[in-house]
Amino acid sequence: MDLKNLTIKKAHELLKKKELTSVELTELFLKNIKEKDGDIHAFLSLNEEEATQAAKKVDERISRGEPIEMLAGIPAAIKDNILIRGTKVTAASKILENYIAPYDATVIKKLKEEEAIFIGKTNMDEFAMGSSTENSAFGPTRNPVDLERVPGGSSGGSAAAVKAGFSVYALGSDTGGSIRQPAGFCGVVGFKPTYGAVSRHGLIAMASSLDQIGPIARNVDDAAAVFEIIRGVDELDSTSVDLDWQDYWDSPLDIEEIKIGVPREYFIHGLNPKIEKNIKSVISKLEKEGAKIEEISLPYSEWALATYYIIMPAEVSANLARFDGIRYGYSTINKEERLQNLFDVYLKSRGKGFGAEVRRRIMLGTYILSAGYYDAYYTRAQKVRRLIKQDFDRAFKEVDVIITPTSPTTAFKFGEKTQDPLSMYLADVYTVSVNLAGVPGISIPVANEQGLPVGLQLIGKNFDDVKLLKIAKIVEQLIKEMT
């Protein structure tokens, strides 16, 4: 069985035709994980028993001749900041090392109704803060394409799991590129839906106005199949939106009807020329096949990263205030003999429980929001955020979709950017605007440069997720024809 190339559709057919049971499929993936995850470290924990139990249930239904849902019986990997009731959820942080989720995230509830199989929880940068998984408190994940290199982040474990054949698809979360960038680095598809399309209830919050859950998969069809299940309004997330969604599976789009914008600000200094060449050749191919290509401008792109590094840490400092060493998580409250006061418990529990990058961002946010600096930093950033959003609103009056590279470089080596946080932040330069504007974005693999995957990003209009996926499918098909 070629686990590395098994798609949802193929797995579904195999189960339906009884060529394979869900228990067998689950065991094959578990076996592969046990053989190879020692080198890759995509997983923080495995759900062997629960996964096998759930698979048995699906097999019983199949043997009774009942129809099964598209995702039923198919193993998925879940980023370890998404809650599965009764299962450890750590956000790759020491502060949650032994924390058991008391409830299901809404996306998990929805997938359980489909009888999806959760094979394990994947590694990530601590609290999703990072672009390489090197910030995980439990050690980094290695890129299955090249073990000397990072898988990207923060959803690096999820992208690596899909690439390595450890699960058919995975869930990640994306605050500034954390689904798309690792998908690009590992050579898989990563989709960040429109802000509000998917409920964030049960996702451990990083920056609440930017966070969004989405799928990582082997192709666009699979990403769409997962998106269809997890999207929708939820009473427990007041930012989720009630919409009548288009059907992804009805008539495909005609390439001659598509208008594609190429933002000139994304093809400037800092972009690896080989990546530029790859993206440009896809653009030429699209034009040759009849798509309309237009050069556009997103003039405030230059300030997106600076805006992000104000708004994100501000929200981080507020969200992570809940970790206090009192209600749950790591605490020094019983650990020291000297009688501590409450302030000491806070200082020590948080000081020891959080890693360096998390503390860096909490402090940045605290400073930015403190009296005397609030207007100069935070208010200003919220205003520039509006200008960035208006850039996209203007662009989408002219074009259906915007095409860019996912990242300025391919996967880098371990340790290359850990000493200088700012150099790590620049890895997100092409992805953060999408979160600031709330629009959907998808990364699909284009080619390999010296053996390393290159990601192409397509950006759509707010809540035009289905159209974006349909266009992504066309681009995916063209890329296949090119190679």
Partner: protein, 99 residues
């Protein structure tokens, strides 16, 4: 934009974060470099621009305060309480807050 060690200590105190003595210099350096970078926003003319206050244009979304939506069964309640490191019956126990 260079933060002093003293300023870092003050921020860490506001954020309720314990820092080891030897980390303070490195944090001062890192935070200064990021704050230096975000100064870039002073180049943008923001006159007459209104702030964005969230990720969507939704306003005042209401729902009934129904605890069964969040804590749906006694088992869940038990799990939530038992996650506390220091508890007495159904209360979280904290050290004295007055010296």
């Amino acid at each position: 934009m260079a933060l002093t060690k003293k300023e870092v200590e003050k921020i860490a105190e506001l954020a309720r974060l314990g820092l080891a003595e030897k980390e303070k210099e490195k944090f001062a350096e890192d935070l200064s470099s990021v704050l230096g970078y975000v100064q870039k926003l002073s180049e943008v003319n923001i006159e007459k621009v209104e702030s964005i206050t969230g990720g969507t244009s939704l306003e005042s979304v209401m729902r009934k305060d129904d605890e069964t939506k969040c804590i749906s069964d006694p088992q869940m309640r038990k799990q939530i309480l038992s996650a506390s490191p220091n508890r007495e019956d159904d209360y979280f126990k904290v050290p004295s807050i007055l010296d």
